[in-house]
Amino acid sequence: MKSKIICPIIAAIPLLFNGCATPPPVVYQKPNESPIVTTGINIQDYTTAANDAVNELLASDVLGKVSNPPAVIFVSRIVNNTGQQINTDLLAKKITRALNQSGKTLTTSTDPAAIGLHNEIDFVADTNTTRLADFTLSGKIIETIDRGGNRSLTTYTFQLSLNDTKTAYQVWEGDKEIGKISTQPVISF
């Protein structure tokens, strides 16, 4: 009978101390310096891939060869060939922002309001001031997984191409591989 009373009391003791525990603190962290590494694509990977692409593009000076600089770029499709749901703007915007800031390029707007107003201004003035893009930026993010024993290597390949709209040639190609070794089953959401 005694044990029937004592046992629940002992079980309840941890609940009393629970209230004293300090909740895990939440602190600000620079995303690019985060110590958390997952097998998925994180913000550091996008930054690394974008950084690589911008450095290569600016060093190649392919953008400076247009007849009337700055070059106009249209961001085409960046295909997601990974098992994850990702927003490819995280990559594309970093690249276009850096290129635009360099003064070497201008990016065509995808804002429907801006496009509509521009067309209306052209219609009212009876002109056609639309400048066609000199280049398109397209790409692919590919995921490959290799397993060996209890370890697996997840590689993300960021393939980017700058295509000349006049010739339809790929005037620049970038390829960045980011590999991650994991000892846990590769499931990332």
Binding site: N32, P35, V54, L58, A59, G64, A98, Q101, S102, G103
Partner: protein, 139 residues
Amino acid sequence: MKTRILLPLGLAAGMAALSGCTTAKILQAPPLVDQRITVADPRVSTDASLNSMVSIMGVKTSMTPGGLLKVQVELQNRTTSLQEFIYRFEWFDAYGMEINNVITAPITDQIEAQEDKFISSVAPKPNCKDFRVKFITPN
């Protein structure tokens, strides 16, 4: 028949015995010591922890065809283990004002044991006249 077998054997044994007496000149390869010295460039900074393991071997600058400043830093891992680090390029205009974009974001990287590695970056704008590179150990 016996002489046919014994004669070559005897000669071979004699030659082998005498060869031990001759002094051969052995050319010794120079010791495998890296003669290069680390560079103390004020534009490159490393935290104490990383500095004890990874050396800055050189800093080179050039101009791209488009008139942008390009920087290349050579690193060397002196240890026998892989080292992780974060680096960040900071770019400044002629007035010393910092210019930020994706090129100036911190990048996580690693260097294999005893490896020599090059890290490069291109200035985000043509008006960038100076730079600084910071290397830190990840948290």
